[in-house]
Structures are given as C-alpha cells and as structure tokens.
C-alpha cells in the first residue's frame, strides 16, 4: 500500500519522532509506515487521517497486491 505520510509530515516540518508522539506510536512504526514496510491498522489510519484533517483514501492508496 502506498501512502503520502512522508510528504505530509514534511509539509508540517515534523520529525518522525514528532509524528510518532502525536499518533502515540513508536518512531520506528512511523518509519515502517512511511517506507511501506508496514500497513497500519484501520484505527491508526483513521488517527493519521484525523491528524492531517484528510480522508484515509487521500493518504493511503492500495498498491498491487
């Protein structure tokens, strides 16, 4: 699954640690999501979307499975 987390984080000038703190996850989890190594759960995806005030589908898009 592709995502725009890195782009959105950069836009807010947040570090991975800053974002992790706001999402109440570890910095490694943010890194894993950004690099596409981990797809977040639905609740976490909703938290990300809420934080950036966007829809989930405008942050995450399904890749080729």
């Amino acid at each position: 699954m592709k995502n725009r987390l890195r782009e959105l984080r950069d836009r807010h000038a947040w570090s991975q640690g800053d974002l992790a703190e706001q999402l109440e996850v570890s910095r490694q989890t943010v890194n894993a999501i950004e690099t596409g190594k981990y797809d977040p759960s639905l609740p976490l995806a909703f938290r990300i979307a809420k934080l950036f005030r966007m829809n989930i589908e405008s942050i995450f898009e399904p890749g080729k499975e």
Binding site: A20, E24, V25, S26, R27, Q28, T29, N31, A32, T35, K37, Y38, P40, S41, L44
Partner: protein, 134 residues
C-alpha cells in the same frame, strides 16, 4: 520513549544477573540440602527474578504499539514453535531410548525459548526497519 527502553533493558539485565547469580550460588546447595522444605525453597528461588523478568516482558508487549506487538507475536510464535518441536523431538527420542534426558535438561527449555525469541524479535524487527527487541 528511548529512556523507557533503556530503563527496561537495565531492569531486564539486572534481573538476569540476579538469576545467574542465584543459579551459581544457590543451585549447588539444592542437591546437598537435607530438609525437603529447604530443598524446595532453594530450587524455586531462581523463579523469583525469572518471574519478575517475564512480568516486565509482558508489560513491555502490552505497552507497545500495534507494530511492536506484531513483531513480538511473530517472534513468540517462532520461539514457541521451535522450542515445542525440539522438546517433542527430544521427548520422542527419550521415550524410544535413543536419548537419555534428566530433569536438569528441562531447565534449558525456558532459556532456549528466550534466546530464540530474542533472535527472532531482532530478525523480524529488522524486516520492519529495525525495531529489534527492546
């Protein structure tokens, strides 16, 4: 969060050091103790730091985020599977009279599980970008 991880590691290492110290100092006296209650107490004393360490690990898993819990779960599945398979194989070979195992050998099951778990945790963590085991 890094400070919490450091504190957690320090506590685990301290408990493991206490465990090793107890095994070193107390365990030799288990065989020579004459009274049964003393023998039981000496034999079970190492369980105190071991239980405390297990409790800390459980608290670490419970307090982790979803990816950390996933890594722990995969690592635990691998460690449990490998240890169960090895124990079963040893048990079958023992029952067949090929292998001779004593009660002392059972003491290696938990350390073996812990070592495989730590290794699996590190490997699986690296797959997700280096979570490793805390």
């Amino acid at each position: 969060m890094r400070r919490a991880v450091t504190a957690y590691r320090r506590q685990i290492f301290l408990l493991m050091a206490v465990y090793i110290g107890l095994m070193w100092l107390v365990w030799p006296h288990v065989h020579t103790a004459t009274s049964l209650p003393l023998k039981v107490a000496l034999a079970l004393v190492p369980l105190v730091p071991m239980s405390a360490a297990l409790w800390l690990i459980v608290m670490d898993v419970v307090g982790g985020d979803e990816l950390q819990q996933r890594v722990h779960l995969i690592a635990l599945s691998i460690a449990t599977g490998v240890t169960c398979a090895a124990s079963f194989m040893a048990g079958v070979l023992c029952a067949a009279g090929v292998l001779v195992l004593g009660g002392d050998d059972l003491m290696w099951v938990l350390p073996a599980t812990a070592l495989i778990y730590a290794a699996a945790n590190w490997v699986v963590g690296r797959r997700y970008g280096g979570l490793g085991c805390s």
